[in-house]
Amino acid sequence: MLNRNIFFPSLVIFLSLVFLVLISQFEEPRYQDAPVGAGFFPAVIAIIQIIICSVLIIQYKKKQKPQKEVTLISSHSIFGFTFLIGYAVLITLVGYLPASLIGFTYYLLFYRVKKPLYYVTAWIFVFAIYFLFSEVFIISLPEGLLFF
């Protein structure tokens, strides 16, 4: 099993190397009067990042103690990710109001909530936010691609 304390810094080192390649491909401005260009700062940071991650790996290897590994992603968090992304997609398609009503109800059903009060609270919240944003703050909420 991959160790997160080694894997994450290694991933960052790899990404920093990719960034360094990308930085070398930055366009050259037509007129350059500055002693350092657009790539200077990002390159310095990418190099610092590589150093920090190397130190973190060494630190971990030196101090390595047997420790209990906690699962990085549980089934609840996977539901959370998909719920979040699903809600964002739904809101783009059908707009704030239907997406939030469907999303909140689905969430409560998923967790097998039986109290009707929770459902009523959820729907009141969705309508209250809609009223607050669209009527009081005059901020338009997403209307959804399907309703255009």
Binding site: L56, V70, L84, F133
Partner: protein
């Protein structure tokens, strides 16, 4: 001056001004408490409503929103670990920990009192030494701004919990994120991958919402048991006691003064101020290990520091016509709409309006304190809402908050991405606040470093031949040194245990 101030107080309590002031502060508190809606946005939303109003009530209402908004951000930060505004990001560190320990009412009362004291100090300083501070701020050029940003970045080490390297890693992630978009000097696109939305860079608000609110929602969801038997947390309604007040008073006053000074420097806002004050309070604290674990001093420093900016940012605005931060830029617009020209002449041509604003700021801070205390019981109810309901509310508010900034689903995507990043970083014990700090300070550091190099024709001598810049660089070195020393002490103490 006194005569104008007294007339200003009479105006502030008049029927034409007082109701709009109360409404402004209340509206600001509500807006600030909603993730994604900042004090800047609140002032901007209400700006069109002031077009038909007389100058004093119009400006007083907007300033009320500003003061209320900065305080309001702390409510969500303490109760939901979701800073309502970027200025409250430092409040999360100790405020939310206090709430978890059952001290939500105490944390809210500390936030209200510290915000009040910070705001009051700031207003008094504004009245007393506005021209002197404005003169100091005028001496700031690119090298000074770079040094200030560098000093700000050293705070990362202090907010890095146990492992400084992990905090620094988070800081570099934030710095790289802040570099997405068109390069500020040569307009070369960086890390944009041809995506148009990335050309203007990554907006800080969706990042903030993602890192703090969405990731917290996911964390809570993970802890949720599937049987949904949620027991509401028990906590007492004990407010800040007089002995506690006496303990936090010196930190609060000091942070208020630091916040005012930072606010008076154009470009440095309440977010930077809160972190700077937090760092300073931790540096001089007798028990710095309490910081991050529910320290009253940490909370008071962050809150006094961010509200301290409210008066400070008006110094360059009113005396020079240069806005100190985004909110004062909107206020500048409000002044112009009212036919007033900010600058030294404003004090001689319209003293009744200037001192009317000053008096109203004092009244607005008092109103904020009253609203803060009256609302504590109501705000605390938020914690009693079962988590099964609270989690989707946090997620929905976050998504809507991210969308509302620019009416853009792209920002929602950014918030979700950073939500996932924050969630994973949390699992790896990598703190999220350095990312935010780096995104705020990164562009300031880079732009001003490169401007300085152009100014000095490639020479780095600006780092030591400009006294203010040198002072900030020395502060930065001292800050890093004292943090490393402190962490070493903490580690040794832990090993002894």
């Amino acid at each position: 001056m006194m005569e104008y101030l007294l007339n200003g107080f009479a105006d502030a309590f008049s029927m034409a001004v007082f109701p709009v002031l109360v409404l402004g502060v209340l509206g600001g508190v509500i807006l600030g408490a909603l993730p994604g809606l900042t004090a800047t946005m609140g002032v901007a939303i209400l700006l069109p409503f002031t077009f038909g109003m007389a100058p004093t009530p119009a400006l007083v209402m907007l300033i009320g929103v500003y003061i209320g908004g900065i305080y309001g951000g702390s409510i969500a930060a303490i109760l939901l670990k979701t800073p309502g505004t970027p200025a409250s990001a430092a409040t999360v560190l100790d405020g939310h920990t206090m709430a978890i320990k059952g001290l939500a009412a105490k944390a809210l009362s500390i936030a209200a009192v510290a915000s009040f004291i910070g705001g009051l100090i700031s207003t008094i300083v504004l009245i007393a030494i506005a021209p002197i501070l404005a003169d100091f701020a005028l001496r700031f050029n690119a090298p000074e701004y770079f040094a200030l940003a560098l000093f700000g970045l050293t705070i990362i080490a202090s907010v890095s919990a146990k492992n400084i390297m992990k905090g620094l890693l988070a800081g570099t992630i934030g710095l790289l994120v802040s570099m997405v978009g068109l390069d500020p000097i040569s307009s070369v696109p960086r890390f944009t991958f041809g995506i148009l939305d990335l050309y203007s860079g990554i907006n800080i608000i969706p990042v903030l919402i993602g890192l703090f609110a969405i990731s917290e929602g996911l964390n809570q969801l993970e802890k949720l048991s599937s049987d949904t038997q949620d027991i509401p947390p028990k906590f007492d309604y004990k407010l800040l006691s007089f002995s506690d007040f006496k303990k936090i008073l010196p930190t609060t006053i000091k942070s208020g003064l630091i916040g005012t000074s930072i606010g008076s420097v154009p470009g440095a806002g309440a977010d930077i101020s809160a972190f700077a004050c937090y760092n300073e309070a931790k540096r001089v604290a007798k028990n710095p290990e309490e910081f991050g674990n529910g320290s009253m001093h940490g909370l008071a420093a962050a809150e006094s520091g961010n509200n301290g900016v409210t008066g400070g940012s008006l110094v360059p605005l009113l005396t020079l016509g240069v806005p100190g931060d985004a909110v004062s830029a909107v206020l500048l617009g409000a002044l112009i709409v009212q036919g007033l020209t900010p600058g030294p002449l404003l004090f001689t041509q319209n003293p009744e309006i200037v001192y009317g604003i000053f008096s109203s700021m004092i009244v607005a801070n008092i109103v904020m304190l009253i609203i803060g205390f009256l609302g504590i019981r109501f705000f605390c109810r938020i914690i009693e809402v079962p988590k099964i309901i609270m989690i989707p509310i946090i997620i929905f508010l976050s998504v809507i908050g991210a969308y509302a900034i620019n009416n853009s689903m792209f920002d929602v995507g950014i918030a979700i991405t950073f939500g996932l990043l924050g969630f994973i970083l949390n699992k790896l014990d990598i703190p999220s606040s350095p990312i935010l700090l780096a995104i705020i300070l990164g562009p300031m550091a880079e732009t001003n470093l490169r401007k300085s190099l152009i100014l000095y024709e490639g020479s780095w001598s600006f780092l030591y031949d400009r006294p203010i810049a040198l002072a900030f660089i020395l502060f930065a070195v001292f800050s890093v040194y004292s943090t490393i020393k402190l962490k070493k002490k903490e580690r040794l103490a832990e090993e002894k245990k």
